[in-house]
Symmetry: D2
Subunit: 160 residues, 4 copies
């Protein structure tokens, strides 16, 4: 298994200028606390609202070029579904299980959902067949059947 970190709320830390900024992957400390060793690579360090098509292509290429068949991607919540769609369309998940997760509240804040979501994502990656999934709120969403509701502040299922 491999974890690719791209930034997002989960990795936000408090900067010297008094604003939140993307720090190093929060997953490292969360995995250590749970007694797990998984390789972590930081491939992007951005708020997901600022991710471009080029960034999404970068993520797809990283997934394609790795030998791991179980991959976790930590990602900002605002465009997590866009990256999931890009992965689905790319065909790279035909023989890989890719799980995207993140947090509604930075791991650096008391009461964050980051550790919970990361634990959930790892089991999803271990138990689900090839494909791309979003795991948030203890729920597995198929990549093309989920949206972030900004009014509710959570991910919700959508039907097509």
């Amino acid at each position: 298994m491999l974890l690719l970190a791209t930034g997002g709320t989960i990795d936000k830390v408090y900067g010297l200028r008094g604003e939140l900024e993307i720090g190093p992957p929060a997953a490292a400390a969360l995995l250590a606390a749970a007694g797990i060793e998984i390789s972590i690579e930081s491939i992007l360090s951005k708020d997901s609202l600022t991710l471009t098509d080029v960034d999404r292509a970068t993520i797809v290429n990283h997934v394609r070029s790795r030998q791991a068949t179980k991959l976790l991607i930590t990602h900002g919540t605002d465009t997590m579904t866009d990256t999931a769609a890009a992965l689905l369309e790319s065909g790279v998940v035909a023989d890989r299980t890719v799980v995207l997760t993140g947090a509604m509240r930075p791991a650096s804040m008391i009461g964050s959902d980051a550790a919970f979501n990361l634990g959930a994502a790892i089991i999803a990656a271990r138990t689900l067949p090839a494909g791309v999934y979003i795991v948030m709120h203890g729920t597995v969403f198929a990549a093309n059947a989920v949206a972030k509701s900004h009014s509710a502040g959570r991910f919700v299922p959508v039907s097509h």
Copy 2:
């Protein structure tokens, strides 16, 4: 889905007399932080070293009497495998998915693995077929193929 709390390290809090004691189910706050609503019932409130055969029968009976087919049990780590074995032998998991989890470090302590483990357990309950499982360290263990290594301070697979 239903969560049955039995006590254990995950629920330990600091008492007025300066010792750790079992508090109310820590899962309540952890689920709320992750934006999840799951019914929680506190059926026992014990350190798992003190659980008796009667206690394990109580746990089995609670699982048997509930309509839920996906159950989480938060449990102390020292005899988690004994309770898993009792559930397996009882036959109640023939048509239910029961996942036991807990924590190596109380949820009340900074750096606890409780939220991570609970997130992992929920996805295991949602994705795995009928049976009884232990989920710790981001890993799904079959009930009869795992032991707690006291020297390593973690669960390890065992073969028979």
Copy 3:
């Protein structure tokens, strides 16, 4: 003793839109954790960069109108010295001990200095003679002999 909360970093919480915003006074939970009962009044709820002369007059008037002779003010760090200067010039501290404090890191974040600073400020208010003081980093600064160094991210003494 009375605590007047005006907002600032100490009170920042993570909002649904993914940005830090001023929440209710963090001092309430910090005082409760320390086993202390002090009346808290929220008189402003602003980032201190946005405080105007009118706001500072509001703070001065609140201090003047209260019977308490020991007052704590939680305040944003960026203009804490300006409010201290306004209090000094107003004459209200001739017979009152007023201590301003805050945090470099929100109380809602792991590793915050908020509890430390608040504990420090309370003892300063209890032990120091009439006047206005800034207490940060475990140090008592006279109101007119301190500046916030933005490059160092801390308060430093200044001489005139």
Copy 4:
């Protein structure tokens, strides 16, 4: 200023065997979070219920042998008043300000009073005249006018 650590609740951490044990001085991380550099020496590492007259003599001798005239001592709460009495009787506080503090709840636990108390103690050491003091709950107690109420779980003033 110098901080002497002796153990106690403030320094308790969760051990592998599932029990609280005295860890390294918690003050190090708390001071760093507050942006303060103070020398810390660990001179004892004990639950204060187990401190003997020999241990108290050790503490007194450490205070006597140091050049610092402002000293903090982190200490278990159960016999903090005994150590304060020993310091008072020894005469070493004739020309030194010694402040004892600790925590009702370990620094390793969420919602600990450790940072608050340490911030309070530092300002007490900086502002109070020579003597020995206990600082808990945001209050300065003279060494011979305080007791720990086990039923209330807090320090209370006593008169003689």
